[in-house]
Symmetry: C2
Subunit: 233 residues, 2 copies
DNA sequence: AACCATATCCGATAATTTTTCGGATTTATC
DNA sequence: GATAAATCCGAAAAATTATCGGATATGGTT
């Protein structure tokens, strides 16, 4: 199925969906599961509103309607709580992609879907997205622990989608798939960041679709210099 | 000089260089100025290493070789200290650009210089860049205060550079200059983030130059759909 | 070189926030 | 309805940020 040994997008996305699925939590009582969920939900909203640094555990506890110390029954520290957030919905994102991607006929359509779904998912989960994109994603602590892995997954799948298109001959073998992936990730992140911070563009999905159409063509241009390029000196 | 009322890149960059220049601090003694500098320098390193949330004021004070309470003689809070950092070298960046840009013959060369200098400046000031790009830039608190303005400046100048090229006929009037600017900013940010976090690519400036050549051509393609575009259903 | 006014320094203490602990309460099972 | 395990939560400790005011240093003046 795959010419080289590298796993394809379907394998990677499937694994990611499974890896970030909500764990079974064996042995726990119903009450406990619900309570943990309530705390997590409250945390998303408080962190999204105040930022992780400014947010106080008391506020989260109050918002959740539980006493302060109960927060610590479920999360060892404020930081752990913050970094547990991304994972909560990451699995759902990958699952949604896996549900829709196989129906797409071409690598290009899947790539388009992947980028589009990234923005759409953020639009549907704005508080979660604020915490992920504004507080956690680009953060010094990301290199430690699960969060980093979840972000690596995102990039790895994108690279696999690009490679798939190359192998199917939909676009030429690029000089650097990672460079292409960086441009895609960076462009989408940028539009999400401005939307989350300033509510611009007003219509996120229209702007995202337009941007996707604008950046996809770089798959065809393998670093061709512009016509009248003048070297700076 | 400018057809519409909008200020050109030179005006904007000049103002930015002045706005973020280190203030004169009238009335202060030499000792004090030096001490403030020492504290700021220590803060950059500690924040870059630990992240703003984990960093402790005591560590900054120790690193600076001053007692804890002296930090508060210069900055009202840890947060204020953190958000004072970007401004410290922002002015220098804009000044460097203003020193070099006028010698460039075309709008394209100036645009290339602007993007290139952004990465080069981060490379030369890695601790500062870590704090700016990984901790502050995409942060919920950014919308308040000076930091936000300093980032707006960056985008505004980029848009002005793009408009300049349109007016000089170097590339067609794009459908959306802000979209183009988002792609440029996002791509450069992305490459900087991975470099700061993972030290990849090994050679930042080579990768940046290659990426610039890759993204500049989108100035010519005004959102032309790819050949065999298939709408996803 | 002694003096003064002002600016700066820093130890001690307060205020805030995070985190821990252990007995009381609830739940599931028989 | 008795028992063991899981869960809850008030109260107190630990860690961290922030304040305050007298002690010390600086620069200018005579």
């Amino acid at each position: 199925m795959n010419k080289v040994g590298e796993p394809g997008w379907a394998t990677l996305a499937g694994e990611a969906a499974r890896r970030w699925a909500v764990p079974e939590q064996s042995g726990k009582q119903d009450r406990s599961r619900r309570r943990q969920q309530v705390i997590l939900e409250a945390a998303v909203h408080v962190f999204a509103r105040d930022g992780i640094t400014r947010a106080r555990i008391v506020d989260i506890a109050t918002q959740a309607g539980v006493p302060l110390s109960s927060v610590y029954d479920y999360y060892p520290s404020k930081e752990d709580l913050a970094y547990a957030l991304p994972a909560t919905r990451m699995g759902q994102f990958y699952a949604e992609f896996m549900a829709k991607a196989p129906a797409e006929p071409t690598a290009e359509a899947r790539l388009r879907l992947y980028l589009w779904l990234t923005a759409d998912f953020a639009r549907r989960n704005p508080a979660w997205a604020r915490v992920l994109y504004l507080e956690i994603w680009p953060s010094i602590i990301v290199t430690e622990g699960d969060v980093g892995r979840s972000i690596d997954d995102f990039a790895r799948i994108l690279v696999a989608l690009i490679r798939d298109g190359e192998q199917r001959g939909e676009w030429p073998e690029g000089p650097d798939r990672y460079q292409t992936a960086s441009i895609f990730i960076g462009s989408i992140s940028q539009i999400l960041i401005t939307w989350l911070l300033y509510a611009r563009p007003r219509n996120l999905m229209a702007a995202t679709s337009a941007m996707i159409e604008r950046i996809l063509p770089i798959l065809d241009l393998a670093s061709a210099p512009r016509h009248a390029a003048i070297s700076s000196g």
